[in-house]
Subunit: 212 residues, 2 copies
DNA sequence: CGTTCGGCTTGATGCCCGTCAAGGACGGAA
DNA sequence: TTCCGTCCTTGACGGGCATCAAGCCGAACG
């Protein structure tokens, strides 16, 4: 059995020997809910893979109190790769929303590995392309007409066909932030879907009943 | 004097000999306003550098008629790099909004060059990281409170200090799409900024007067 | 057991902004 | 010149969603 982090998309196409080589660089860290892994503008020390829990990436804005959510990281995903290549500082703030465990890969050693192994570099390029598509999808969602529509889009992703179930790995307020709406609006949108008979909600478990 | 496309961020860190090697792959194409370079889901033939004009990247959505704008490409920028690595098909539709000129780099030859040259691969990784930041910024803009606020954010980017001028390289309707609002709302927002004495608008030229 | 706190829901109110509609400014073509 | 098309502006209207406020529920704790 390989370590959990080898399942991350970034490493999926690596050979076992390459993975073993990388494992010597890895450092593990645990976080409590509300604890911050790094702040926007912090000097970038490397990148991370989440192996347990959930991490919320937010970005400060000019408006006081407003912290748009860029993404919610779930196991097993890597994040902050872009920070390592693109600039000196982290472009966002990473906060745990659940008890979490991350693996840290220091910057210098990782860049060295990139330089030595063309296949590894190609794998990284591929992983970045996946991220680009995710962000493009997110832009599409945010630009979509109403917040109710964004919720329906998201539900179709998580619950591919009627009958499917999904348990939220995060509080509803975090989901609301990810969808760019307030918890109140999320609550109301879910209710209206229930009244249409398309969805059942029991606590944090969603149960798709019909054709959204 | 080097060819214009060598100024693109993607190639900035290449040596002259590497650039010369790439130039043999390049193919030039011209487009009229409204003409489409490629459609979403088209098979990906390579990637592009815009050397003149302006290109709008849009993405189809479920709602009929709604085409959220991902980005507006201005000279000299590369685009569709991600499509080459991430998948088989283009993730967006590219349409000229002005008379434009692009350079096309075919896929296969380019991937070969990547494999042979670690520095080039690192340059590509860097370029993708820049894209990731741009999209993250876009998400931030879209998630930002009001459309008026998004306009102010954009103005601060284009007009760094009071007294600065900027001539729009595109029609206002395109700018409105980029900012995720309708032309009507853009017009009203610009008017209110003028009434506050912070901005002057003469046709497509913007003149920043005060502290936004 | 009672208390407290956070997550969640529900209601009332107001504003922002998208839509629809009409009209002005400008440029190109006959 | 006149006609026509595009870009842009302005007004009126309505709906969606954020905000504010109150209350419910379950979990953790003394």
């Amino acid at each position: 059995m390989q370590p959990a982090w080898t399942q991350a998309p970034l490493f999926a196409s690596l050979t076992p020997s390459q993975q073993a080589q990388l494992e010597r660089l890895a450092v593990t860290r645990k976080l409590e809910p509300g604890e911050t892994l790094f702040f926007e503008e912090d000097a970038c020390t490397g990148f991370f893979v989440l192996v347990a829990g959930a991490i919320q990436l937010t970005r400060a804005s000019d408006q006081p109190g407003a912290h748009p959510t860029l993404a919610v990281i779930l196991p097993v995903q890597s994040f902050a790769e872009a920070a390592m290549f693109g600039g000196e500082a982290f472009p966002a703030t990473a906060t745990a929303v659940q008890p979490s465990q991350v693996i840290h890969f220091p910057k210098a050693a990782f860049l060295g590995a990139l330089r030595d192994d063309p296949d590894f570099a190609l794998a990284v390029i591929h992983a970045q392309a996946v991220w680009l598509r995710r962000l493009a999808t997110r832009v599409q969602q945010l630009a979509g007409v109403g917040s109710g529509d964004r919720l329906r889009n998201w539900l179709r992703q998580q619950l591919p066909k009627p009958g499917a179930r999904y348990a939220l790995p995060m509080p509803k307020k975090t989901l609301a932030a990810q969808l760019g709406m307030t918890p109140e609006t999320l609550s109301r949108s879910l209710r209206s879907l229930q009244e249409e008979g398309l969805l059942a909600v029991e606590g944090r478990t969603l149960h798709r009943l019909g054709e959204l």
